[in-house]
Every structure is written in structure tokens, then in C-alpha cells.
């Protein structure tokens, strides 16, 4: 890492440049009353503007104040770390092939103890070295598609993931695992669910809530669960594999259209909403939890439809929402709007004229509920009935995020409002369920 990229700016960067020192060098920092020696470390994002960070011989980092009086001397150059990956384990005969297509997140990474930085570790040999047990489960074919934080994903990225996944499936792997940042993993899962027709094998997104540079990371167990399911589970759907509880002993496989991140930080953040989870991986065994699922099938009829229309918005209603927000989308040329209404599927009567205008302008406007759990029903109250009359489409028990992704996909396939409406209401990847069961 160079000084320029190390986070030091302004005065500190000037002083360090003048002293001719680089990140990783062992330096002496002399202030009027005290002197420290240590390795120069990149600056922490939160650090003060007047301190440089050094690692003492004891391994501890401290910040040292730098003023015009401070003298910085380079004692010796740092040793560049050389990572020697362990030899790749021999492929065990008879194991199935699983493709691992990495998109980012910290599911697989390695820590640089010299600077504390975390680097992605995503080649097959990296994966084996981080999670050696993988070599007992499957023959891994690892690729890095991109390495981005999931909040930076766009529908364009979904398309690339869909295409790369389809390619691997065409090549005949037994399943595909997609490491992904957790923040928007459920959106990507929904997107892939709609993009694939007649999927022949499982496609499993996997993430981690504790980065894999920590001994307590959930990455390895989630990854092992995902690979196990990708190689051997009987279903052929897009799904998400994550911890079932705070314990490390059980991984749940959630259906891609029915899953949502429901906790900011816990391992058990992902929940199946309005549906039981698809399967569980525990003690090395995959158990199906649903009877009605898509089975593995021959590849011949497999098709990919990876286009998404991004002029679609998700609007959460709240008391006092100014209807001009709806007008904004119409005026900007949006083609669809998913409303996240209150309760059974309502927005204030004050919004009616704007909703009416949107639909008359050709937008598809559909209703989901911000309650998350349950089904919209717009026949119960006047407001609901009024919205139905205006042409708002009720989306049953579909998750608002899934509805957004589905409408993006629908409008990526057709611009014909009638056809689009029909596609939106057609159950394509178990995004609708007929029955809502009591939660456990």
C-alpha cells in the first residue's frame, strides 16, 4: 500500500513524504518529550487529523501526535509479507463439481497482520486454505466476478451474475454458490429467481454477518452449508444460505423470493417471510422443509432472461407523505411503482389523485404491505377498494423488495401494460403463496 492510498492527508501526508517513509517501514517518531519506534500503519478512518499510527514491537497500535517539531526517521524498510498458499488438496474422486462465483462481501477474506487490512481470498486455493473442509464436500471451481459491497449492487450487476451463473450451469456443475454481501443479498436472490427459467440445479447465495478474518466468523459454516446444498440438495431453486440461530450448528436455506434481512448485525438476520424455509443443513445433512419445490431437472430446457428495467421505484407510505413524491416518479419517466402501504395495503386518500395520474400515465402501480408479515387485502376497507378502482394491483403476500425486483424484471421483458400486469401476477418462483401459516 502506498502512502497516497493509506488515508493520510494534508499536513500528515506532507510530513511523511518529506521524511521519505512508507507504510510498513519501521520508523522513529521523536516529539519534544518522548520518542516511539514502530511500524507505520495506514490511518484509521476515524483517526485524528494530527496523529500517525504506528505498531509497537508488542503488537499494539498507538496514535502519535505530529507537529512541526516532530522528527520522523526511517529505521528500516518493512518486510513485504509473502503469502504462501498451502498446496491445493487433491480432488477427491467421486465428488460433485460446485461453482463458486464471488461477488464481494467479506465472506472469504484474509487479514494482513502487518497493517490490519482485510483482503479478499477468493481463488479456489484461497477458499480451501480458509475452509479446508470444503475439499471433502465438492470439487470447487472458483471465479471472482467482482468484488463490491452489496450496497453498491445495481440491476446491471444482477444481469452479470445471472449470465455468469448460467454459463457455469451450462458447463454442467452440480450447483452454484454465490458469495455476496448481506445487505442486498435478498434483492439479488429475488432477481436471479426471476431471471432463470427451468433452473436445473440449486443456485445458492451465501454471506456472512461476521467477516471471515475473525475466528468467530459465520462465513465458513455458511459456506459449507451452501456448498453442501448446492452439490447434493434435491431442489433446483435460487436460495440464500445463512445461520438459523446464534449457534453454529444449523444453516437454513431460504427461498430467494421469500427471504429478507431482518437484523442489522446478528448471524440469524435472514428470515423466510410468509413461508417456511426451503431446507436445513445440519450435521452435514440436507433436510427439505417444504414439499412443494422445484426438483433438479435436465439442463435442456434451461433459459435465462437477465434483463431488468431500473425505472421502477419502491415507495414506503408514511403519515403525511406528500403526494408530489409520486408525481416526481411519473414526471421522471418511471414505468412502475411498488407501494409499501400500511396494514392490509393502504395509502392516504390524499394520494389518490397522484396515484390516479400515475396509472393514467401508463405506470404499473402495485401494492405490498410494510407490515412485512401477512397478506394485503384491499377489499376490506373503503381505502383499499378505492385504490383497486384506481387500478392499483394488490400483490398478495409478496415481499415489497421482491415485488420491486419482480416489476423491474417484468418491465425488462415487456413494455405492454397488459402483458406486464399478467406477468406480475403470475406465480413464477414461489413469490406468491396460497396459504399463510402461523409463524413458529
Amino acid at each position: 500500500m502506498s502512502l497516497e492510498k493509506s488515508g493520510y492527508r494534508g499536513f500528515l501526508l506532507t510530513v511523511l513524504n518529506e521524511a521519505g517513509v512508507d507504510i510498513g517501514d519501521v520508523i522513529r517518531v521523536e516529539n519534544p518529550n518522548y520518542t516511539y519506534e514502530g511500524t507505520l500503519i495506514p490511518r484509521s478512518e476515524f483517526g485524528s487529523e494530527d496523529c500517525i499510527v504506528i505498531k509497537l514491537r508488542s503488537g499494539y497500535n498507538i496514535g502519535v501526535k505530529v507537529t512541526r517539531q516532530t522528527k520522523i526517521t526511517k529505521l528500516r524498510s518493512g518486510e513485504k509479507p509473502a503469502f504462501i498458499p498451502p498446496p491445493q488438496p487433491e480432488a477427491k474422486p467421486g465428488l460433485r463439481r460446485v461453482a463458486v462465483i464471488s461477488t464481494g462481501g467479506t465472506i472469504a477474506s484474509r487479514v494482513d497482520y502487518r497493517t490490519g487490512g482485510v483482503r479478499p481470498a477468493l481463488s479456489a486455493s484461497d477458499l480451501y486454505s480458509v475452509v479446508p473442509e470444503l475439499s471433502d464436500l465438492a470439487v470447487i471451481e472458483a471465479d471472482i466476478l467482482f468484488s463490491i459491497l452489496s450496497e453498491n449492487m445495481t440491476p446491471q450487476h444482477w444481469k452479470k451474475i445471472a449470465v455468469a451463473t448460467a454459463k457455469k450451469i451450462e458447463e454442467g456443475v452440480a450447483g452454484v454458490v454465490i458469495p455476496h454481501g448481506t445487505d442486498t443479498m435478498a434483492y439479488t436472490a429475488a432477481a436471479l429467481s426471476f431471471a432463470f427459467k427451468n433452473l436445473p440445479v440449486p443456485v445458492i447465495l451465501v454471506g456472512s454477518q461476521r467477516s471471515s478474518d475473525r475466528p468467530s466468523s459465520d462465513a465458513a459454516t455458511n459456506l459449507l452449508g451452501a456448498v453442501k446444498a448446492a452439490a447434493y440438495a434435491p431442489f433446483a431453486e435460487v436460495a440464500v444460505a445463512m445461520h438459523e440461530s446464534t449457534s453454529d450448528d444449523s444453516i437454513l436455506i431460504h427461498r430467494g423470493t421469500k427471504v429478507r434481512k431482518c437484523h442489522t448485525s446478528a448471524r440469524y438476520a435472514f428470515k423466510s417471510i410468509n413461508s417456511p424455509p426451503l431446507a436445513r443443513v445440519k450435521n452435514g445433512k440436507v433436510t427439505m422443509l417444504i414439499e412443494d419445490y422445484r426438483r433438479r431437472s435436465p439442463r435442456e430446457s434451461f433459459e435465462v432472461y437477465p434483463e431488468f428495467e431500473d425505472r421502477v421505484a419502491l415507495l414506503k407510505f408514511y403519515p403525511g407523505l406528500n403526494p408530489e413524491v409520486i408525481d416526481f416518479y411519473v414526471d421522471k419517466g418511471y414505468l412502475g411503482l411498488i407501494l409499501e402501504g400500511t396494514g392490509l395495503g393502504h395509502v392516504s386518500a390524499r394520494c389518490f389523485p397522484s396515484v390516479k395520474r400515475a396509472i393514467e400515465s401508463g405506470l404499473i402501480v402495485a401494492m405490498t404491505s410494510q407490515c412485512i408479515w401477512g397478506r394485503v387485502n384491499m377489499n376490506v376497507y373503503d381505502t383499499g377498494r378505492d385504490l383497486l378502482r384506481l387500478g392499483v394491483i394488490p400483490l398478495e403476500d409478496m415481499l415489497p423488495e421482491t415485488a420491486l425486483v419482480k416489476l423491474m424484471w417484468v418491465l425488462g421483458q415487456t413494455r405492454d401494460p397488459k402483458e406486464a400486469k399478467q406477468l406480475l401476477l403470475q406465480n413464477m418462483a414461489y413469490e406468491f403463496s396460497d396459504r399463510t401459516l402461523m409463524e413458529d
Binding site: S44, P215, S216, D248
Partner: protein
């Protein structure tokens, strides 16, 4: 055994860890307290060794992981939140704890760092849910004078305490999360201490500084001393977790003893001409020797499909039974190593044979199968083949170390002051930044503010205690070295009661109750204060204090008033007391007539035996004297 420590080249460094009494934990808002009773939450985790850039992992850590060790955590909602469970990132570093440790740093003339950076120190035995301990340097380079000698203070740190281990089964270890995250201040001295006695004195001096802040916890387990001990010809040994000050001295002495005796074993082996290449590496299956054994441990292992594996130690006969320190034989060391690396229950060896149901004939069979001379020793283990093999390989490696002298290792202190093998010494501490916690800039303004409010240094404090509260020097010193100084001052300010009584109670009385085996540390401050309030307001007499405290230590959830009622120690109303005195007087009229005031002693004894704790002696004595005078001055009615 007396040693010339100077000649042996003894060097000791101390690491004192003391829990701080902050309002909440170091990285979250949980109470820094322990819970009793059944846990509300249980969960199971595994910790995976992380790999460094160099592809290295801690050997012992990797070993634990490969064994498939799982960790069962127990928690309750009062003392743990998602932060302890490693389900939520840490909150910001507790400022109260930072200021207390900076105060300690200033008292030790150390230089606070300009910016505090929290680090992660990898620990994967399960004691931290994250797999690392969060720790930071607060100050460096201080000094403490102990009896004229300058002791350098290398490092003052602040870190989170670990979860506490409450159980261990074959493949699962249990920890409680309550202790995890309690702030610990760490004070490390340079390795300049040169005798056991000096180690105790330095620990005491550091303890006094820490207690002077008035912000430290007390009771068993709230302070732990780690010792780094080395001898010129021995090795650097880290002894962890010495809890009592008195044990520090013994721990150093016993460790010197252990190293000296290991060196003697080396000399003896040299004399016997044992060379490294003579020592067996591979264990031998000797199951057939024990097919009809009467030894319960062995027959049980065999009935489960286990094997008996044995290892010949050429030239070791008699050395395994040799005592290294009290209750610690060389055989004990081998057994501990076998337990750690092989997960076996223990080992047998020929120095303790025949015994444990193993017969002379079996030993003969064993020896002949291994082709032993009388000079050789044999170690054998009955367990599953894999475990027995791992265990004996570790024993073989340790036996080879005996030829070189003292192997470096980390040991854990026993309550008696000896120590047992814990694990190999970890490689260079593997630390990396805790990026979830922003660094704290230690500004000159903050340092100035803390410097102005520094607590008294121990000597000044001693003088003040004597002058302000009229305590004698001995009592003042005891109070200062107790953990109750802060509470003493609060009670004396709040309650109208003799300072000497409070000081005696908080030092001598509590100590003697503790000696009787009572858990006095469990009596909370507010309960102790209440006891003095009850005495001060006359609800009970001061004589009843020991009984009340003993009762409270067994009933930690009850109040002092509950104790008084349960023990029937409420002060008698005056008329009731007068009635008891009168009754005694009536019974002793004859005695009074004969002996006058000479009857006072027996009368006093008789009344006090009835009212002890319910009336103070002074009142009783006044009443009795008054009545004796009355009777004497009354004319005889006859």
C-alpha cells in the same frame, strides 16, 4: 528450600490485572456483574483459527480446532446483550474506564499515548466469543518506587475481561458470558524483580495505587496477577491467574523450585548417559498384557474398545516420581501434557507401580514387552487408540525436553501457589486493529483535568486516615490495603458511628469471617452501610455485627434488617432490659449483700449472656451498677 536467587539469576516481571468498578462494561451498556442461578440463554459456537498473511496459524489453536472442540455459552439478559454474544459490533470505548486507567497512568508517572487504538488479540480457547480479546495501550514507560528500588512500569493497558469457564467435557467447553467485557486495567512491570518477597511487595504497591482510584472491584477473581519468571539456566515461564497477594510470593518460590529440580533431573539424565536418540518416539500397543487386568480404569477403557499404549523412557526410572514442587511430580507434568494434547484422563507410570489395581506381574510383562532395563521407566495410557497415541507422543516430546532442561510454556496458577501446565507459549501476540471501535484522542486538556483530580498517593493517604478519623497506624494500613477504603469513607460520612468500629469491621471482622469460610465478598456495599446505620441508630448493638455479616453472606438477597430480625438481635426496649437486669438482681441479692460491687462481674456475665447483641454492654453495666448501689444504700428491712 532456601535459594540464592541472585546466583540463580531470578528475574520476575509482573502483570497485574484488576477489574474496574465502572457503571457499565467496556464496550456495551451491560452491568459489569456476575449472575447466579440458571442461564436464560444457551448457544453453541466454534472458533476457527484465522490465517495470517504468512499462512501461519497458532499451533495450539489449530490443534484445538482440529479436535472439533465446540463451545457452549451461557448468559442471562441482565449481564449480557448482543455485544457479548458477538452478534452486534462493540459500542465506543467506555470513557469512565479510559479516565480511570489514565489516572492510574499518571499516578505511576507513565506517559499517556496521544491516541488510544483498540486492538484484537487472537484467543481461540472460547473465552472470548469473538475469538479475540479487545485490548489497548493507554500509557507507556512509568515508574514505581518500592522500598528504595525503582521498578519500571512498561505498559498500562485497558482490556475486556474474558468469559468465565464453568465446565469442560471431552469435546465441549462451557463459558458464562457475564464476565466478558468487564473492564480490566493491566499494569506490567519490567522483569527486574529479583526475589519472591519483592514480587509480593511490588504487587502490593501496584494494588495500592489501583485501589487509591476508588474505582476498582473487590473480591475473589477481581484481581489476577500473571508472573513472567525466568532463571539464568532455566526458561521464561508465564504463570497465569494468581489471585491472592499472599500467593504471589509462593508462586515465584515454587516456580524457582520447579525449575531447579528440572535442572537436577537433566543433570541426572546426563549422568545416566541418556541421549535424545535413545528415547522412543512411537508408542507400543501393550493391550495383551492387560487382558485380564483388575485395574478398573484400564478394564473400562478396554471394554469400550480402547487400547493400552505404552512408551519406554530410557533411563528415567525413579525420575517420574520425583517432586518438583509441593504436590507436583515430574509425572504430574507428563500427565498434564498428555491431557492437553491427547485429551486423555491421565497416565500411568512405573514409578507409581504397583498400584491402581495394576499388579507386579503386569508390570513385569510390560517391562519385558518393551525390553526394559531396571533403569528405564514406562508411561502407559488406556484410551481410544488415537487419543492414547497423541497423548504418548506429547509425553515423548516432553521427555526429550527434559534432556535440555526447562521448556518454555504457559502455566496456570493453583490456589496453593504451585502451577500446572496450561499450553505452549503462544507465538508473537497476533494482533490487529479493532476497526469497529474509533480511536480516542487523549488531549492535553483531558490529561490536565485528570492530573488536577489525582487521588492521594498511598503515604499521604495513610497520614490522612490517622489524622482525620483517629485510626491507629496499624488499622489505617490494614484499611488502605483492604478493598474497602472507599466504602469506609462513604460510611463514616453518611452514618454517625465510630470510625474505628467501621474500620475494624471492614478489615479484621471481615477477614476472620472469610477465614471461617464465609463468602463475605458477596455482601454488597449498600448492605454493609445498612448494618452500620442499624448500629448507629440503636436498632441493634455493635456486638451483633459479626453475626449479622455471617448471616448476610449466606443470604445475599436479604437486607441487614432481615438479618437482625432473623437472628433476634433487635435492641431490647429499655423496660425489657431493666426487667432482665432486675430479675438477675433479685436472684443474686445474697451475693450482692456479701460482696457488694464484687458481685458485678458474675451479674454482668449472666445478663450479657441473655442479651448479647440486643443491648450494648455499656448500658447493661450502668444499670447493674446503679441497682447494686441502690441495694447497698437501702437499709435492711429486717
Amino acid at each position: 528450600m532456601k535459594f540464592d536467587y541472585k546466583k540463580l539469576g531470578l528475574k520476575v516481571g509482573l502483570e497485574v490485572h484488576q477489574q474496574l468498578d465502572t457503571r457499565h462494561k467496556l464496550f456495551c451498556a451491560c452491568k459489569p456483574e456476575l449472575f447466579r442461578g440458571e442461564p436464560e440463554i444457551r448457544f453453541v459456537r466454534r472458533l476457527r483459527p484465522t490465517q495470517s498473511e504468512l499462512g501461519q496459524v497458532d499451533e495450539a489453536a489449530l490443534f484445538e480446532f482440529r479436535k472439533g472442540l465446540t463451545i457452549l455459552y451461557e448468559a442471562d439478559r441482565d449481564t449480557s446483550c448482543l455485544v457479548e454474544m458477538d452478534e452486534e459490533p462493540p459500542h465506543e470505548l467506555n470513557r469512565e474506564a479510559v479516565e480511570t486507567s489514565l489516572t492510574v497512568a499518571l499516578m505511576l508517572d507513565a506517559k499517556p499515548v496521544d491516541e488510544i487504538h483498540v486492538m484484537r488479540k487472537i484467543v481461540i480457547d472460547g473465552s472470548n466469543t469473538t475469538g479475540f480479546q479487545r485490548t489497548c495501550v493507554v500509557a507507556l514507560g512509568g515508574e514505581l518506587e518500592v522500598e528504595g528500588k525503582k521498578i519500571p512500569i512498561q505498559h498500562i493497558g485497558l482490556e475486556e475481561d474474558a468469559a468465565r469457564k464453568t465446565g469442560q467435557r471431552a469435546n465441549q467447553v462451557t463459558y458464562r458470558l457475564d464476565r466478558l467485557g468487564i473492564p480490566l486495567i493491566e499494569v506490567t512491570t519490567g522483569p527486574v524483580i529479583s526475589s519472591p518477597e519483592e514480587a509480593r511487595k511490588v504487587a502490593l504497591a501496584i494494588g495500592r495505587i489501583l485501589r487509591a482510584t476508588g474505582k476498582v472491584k473487590r473480591g475473589i477473581g477481581t484481581v489476577r496477577q500473571d508472573l513472567n519468571i525466568s532463571l539464568a539456566r532455566g526458561a521464561l515461564i508465564e504463570i497465569k491467574g494468581v489471585q491472592e497477594l499472599e500467593t504471589v510470593e509462593k508462586a515465584v518460590e515454587y516456580e524457582v523450585q520447579r525449575q531447579v529440580n528440572l535442572l537436577k533431573i537433566r543433570e541426572e539424565l546426563e549422568r545416566r548417559g541418556v541421549r535424545e536418540e535413545d528415547l522412543a518416539i512411537e508408542p507400543v500397543d501393550v493391550t495383551e498384557v492387560f487382558e485380564n487386568t483388575k485395574c478398573k480404569v484400564i478394564s473400562k477403557a478396554l471394554s469400550r474398545g480402547g487400547k493400552v499404549l505404552a512408551l519406554k523412557l530410557k533411563g528415567f526410572n525413579g525420575l517420574l516420581g520425583r517432586e518438583l514442587a509441593p504436590n507436583l511430580r515430574f509425572g504430574t507434568e507428563l500427565a498434564d501434557i498428555a491431557r492437553f494434547w491427547g485429551g486423555v484422563g491421565g497416565i500411568f507410570h512405573t514409578d507409581e507401580m504397583p498400584g491402581y489395581g495394576v499388579t507386579e506381574a503386569e508390570i513385569d510383562g510390560l517391562r519385558s514387552k518393551l525390553d526394559c532395563t531396571p533403569e528405564d521407566a514406562v508411561v502407559f495410557v488406556a484410551d481410544s487408540r488415537e487419543k492414547a497415541e497423541e497423548a504418548l507422543k506429547a509425553v515423548a516430546a516432553r521427555a526429550r525436553e527434559a534432556l535440555k532442561g526447562v521448556p518454555e510454556e504457559t502455566r496456570v496458577a493453583t490456589p496453593e501457589g504451585t502451577s500446572r501446565y496450561m499450553r505452549p507459549r503462544p507465538g508473537a501476540a497476533r494482533m490487529y486493529p479493532e476497526t469497529d471501535v474509533p480511536p480516542i484522542r487523549v488531549t492535553e486538556d483531558l490529561i490536565e483535568r485528570l492530573r488536577k483530580a489525582l487521588p492521594e498517593k498511598p503515604e499521604a493517604l495513610l497520614q490522612r486516615l490517622m489524622a482525620e478519623y483517629g485510626l491507629n497506624q496499624k488499622l489505617s494500613r490494614q484499611l488502605m490495603d483492604s478493598e474497602y477504603l472507599d466504602l469506609f469513607e462513604r460510611i463514616v460520612k453518611e452514618v454517625k458511628v465510630s470510625p474505628t468500629l467501621v474500620a475494624v469491621t471492614l478489615t479484621e471482622t471481615l477477614r476472620s469471617l472469610k477465614r471461617d469460610g464465609l463468602d463475605v465478598a458477596s455482601i454488597r456495599d449498600d448492605k454493609l452501610t445498612e448494618v452500620f446505620k442499624l448500629v448507629g441508630s440503636g436498632v441493634t448493638a455493635k456486638e451483633s455485627i459479626p453475626e449479622i455479616l455471617a448471616w448476610l453472606s449466606k443470604n445475599p438477597d436479604k437486607s441487614a434488617l432481615d438479618a437482625v430480625k432473623a437472628l433476634n438481635l433487635e435492641r431490647l426496649p429499655e423496660e425489657e432490659l431493666r426487667r432482665i437486669v432486675d430479675e438477675a438482681i433479685e436472684d443474686s441479692l445474697q451475693l450482692i449483700k456479701e460482696r457488694g460491687l464484687g458481685a458485678f462481674g458474675p451479674l454482668m456475665g449472666r445478663v450479657m449472656s441473655k442479651v448479647r447483641g440486643r443491648a450494648d454492654a455499656k448500658t447493661v453495666s450502668a444499670m447493674i451498677k446503679e441497682r447494686i448501689h441502690e441495694i447497698q444504700s437501702k437499709p435492711d428491712p429486717r
